[in-house]
Symmetry: C2
Subunit: 359 residues, 2 copies
């Protein structure tokens, strides 16, 4: 088989193997074993669901920030104040997955006691895909919202310069017959990564994705990168991004607007990301079995709708990712060659062999 053939086929990796391998990398950078495993698990979980942009491809930047001491290896995560159904948490500038896991655990404790719970988090870092943390909540019978703000890359509606991040919105609900509903999305029209790819290929981008430096709508990918990405759905999506920055940033005491440090370009300052979690205990409203009947009925009804021409099937949020997870759990996670080489390089001192993680 030619070198080129290998690239296009991609080697397949066992999820558990990848988790062990990445755990060793993060533990080597000074995280406790438990925290290292948590970060590794959250990244590989994204790969399992097919959200490769938030998977192990983030290892280098996470390692770099740990090496620059701009993220705390053993953060002092503190409850700053709490009420029966609220918690204000200082993330101690810890790794996002570590802080979010603690925030979720504080929130679930409050929710069990009080029926619902609201957790605001300051002094956090890049959290990664919300779906990983949402799964802990739905497993406990919760409906969950997770919001985090992000470095400024997106213009508010009618502005020409970035102020909001692509502030991710994550909403999840347990189902039974069907996969859980998981709406885990950026509040931008499109991930900036897709514009970078178009620019590299010299391709145009669709109208409505971005504006150029002068604030004019553009289909020129390079002009879009010099300008900025737009919120999804115009003023409405802009309002949702604003909401996330208010709950995650303003209310928590974290950074907001241009006050969030860039993950990649600012390696000397903490990000001060802000997050917000809302948990609702389903069983306080109706017996869980009845709720699951109703959700499955709703999903059945939506799946039975006739799709528009050219589309085979009406899909629910998270359905495609659940299918990918089922496949990759068995067949393994495909990694492109550049990600393989990167992992080998970062893992070379751990004593673990990446090739032994192959399926």
């Amino acid at each position: 088989m030619s070198h080129k053939g290998q690239t296009s086929l991609k080697a397949m990796y066992r999820p558990e193997g990848l988790i062990d391998f990445c755990t060793a990398i993060f533990a080597g950078e000074g995280l406790t074993d438990a925290d290292a495993r948590l970060v590794a698990d959250s990244l590989v979980h994204a790969n399992l669901r097919g959200v490769d942009s938030h998977g192990v491809t983030r290892v280098p930047i996470y390692v770099k920030r740990l090496q620059k001491d701009v993220v705390e290896k053993e953060p002092n995560i503190q409850v700053l104040s709490e009420a029966r159904s609220t918690v204000l948490l200082d993330g101690g500038n810890g790794m996002g997955a570590v802080v979010a896991t603690r925030a979720m655990s504080e929130g679930l404790r409050k929710m069990r006691e009080s029926g619902s719970a609201s957790v605001a988090v300051r002094n956090n870092n890049h959290v990664g895909a919300g779906a990983y943390f949402a799964a802990k909540a739905t497993a406990e019978g919760a409906i969950v919202f997770i919001y985090s703000n992000a470095p400024p890359t997106m213009a508010p509606w009618h502005a020409r310069t970035p102020y909001f991040g692509t502030n991710p919105y994550c909403f999840s609900v347990p189902a039974r017959k069907h996969p859980n509903i998981v709406l885990d999305m950026a509040t931008s029209v499109v991930a900036r990564g897709k514009i970078i790819v178009a620019a590299e290929r010299g391709e145009a981008i669709p109208p409505g994705w971005a504006i150029d430096e002068e604030g004019r709508e553009t289909t020129d990918a390079q002009a879009a990168l010099d300008g900025c990405v737009l919120p999804f759905g115009g003023p409405k999506g802009s309002g949702i991004a604003l909401m996330i920055d208010i709950l995650g940033g303003v209310l928590s005491g974290a950074g907001f607007g241009r006050g969030i440090g860039d993950l990649y370009r600012e390696l000397s300052v903490p990000q001060n990301v802000g997050s917000f979690i809302q948990l609702i205990n389903i069983a306080r409203f109706m017996p869980m079995e009845r709720f699951l009947d109703r959700i499955d009925t709703m999903i059945d009804e939506i799946k039975a709708l006739t799709p528009v021409p050219g589309v085979n099937e009406v899909m629910l949020p998270g359905e495609l990712e659940a299918r990918t997870e089922a496949i990759r759990s068995t067949d393994g996670i495909p990694l492109p060659e550049d990600v393989e080489s990167m992992l080998m390089e970062y893992g070379k001192d751990t004593g673990f062999s990446l090739s032994e993680c192959r399926v």
Copy 2:
């Protein structure tokens, strides 16, 4: 001045006068004085803010439903279950504004005790503009979300037939120097009313607003009316509409999907609208003064962004409505002639004179 001149100028009405006038209409239909005033106040509040589609123009359909006994005049609104921060409410098929006011009051009570609160409501009716109820919450130092589902008129992403309503999303946050932030929006790209107007004028509609009966994107307004309106922002807005139907409908035990009765066309069955309110007590997270400083700073920063070409000013959600409210509070509410005649007709037995309500 010619008759035509008067039409285009529109007569101006004192808000208090209109509230008294509409209160008399609803009291005449059997609502208690307090409830009649509440419904009237909520409608005129929408007119004050310039949201005339949700103002006194709704009087006829509200009256019709009361006359058909399909809405309870003196509803038995019941707390079905509660925890420290949750309430499940049966709206007793009461007028939407009456039920929503009670739900808000139960929620605020829980929020004061516990820090945040979640209220789900079944057996509700058309609630009207969420901003009216949100204002009660922000006045008590809350960040508030209000969701209601609605009769099916909107296709989920990639489906060709209606399943969701235009499920309104309302989010509001108090500010100090600036008007409160009030994001009060349908989750459809556009109100169906705008498509009706375009069809009447024989005008085309922009692509992306609606699909025809075969599920094809259309710019033909009549074909759009025969087809259905689309969620804002494609799959993302569709996900938000789904979220609202789950919290408002599935979790509360109300109708969901095609289970919501049409306000106008189904005059023999209760709507069984479902609503959900989330309240967050700001003071449990930081001193209110500090929060207001931070929100005003954020708004200052957004207002200072350079607008895109052709736009004079970057606006925050609710800012335009707040300006309109300031103007109309002083100058009065303009009513078109057809709305004037309708009100006169509906109010003819009340002993109140509409013309005496003019500025």
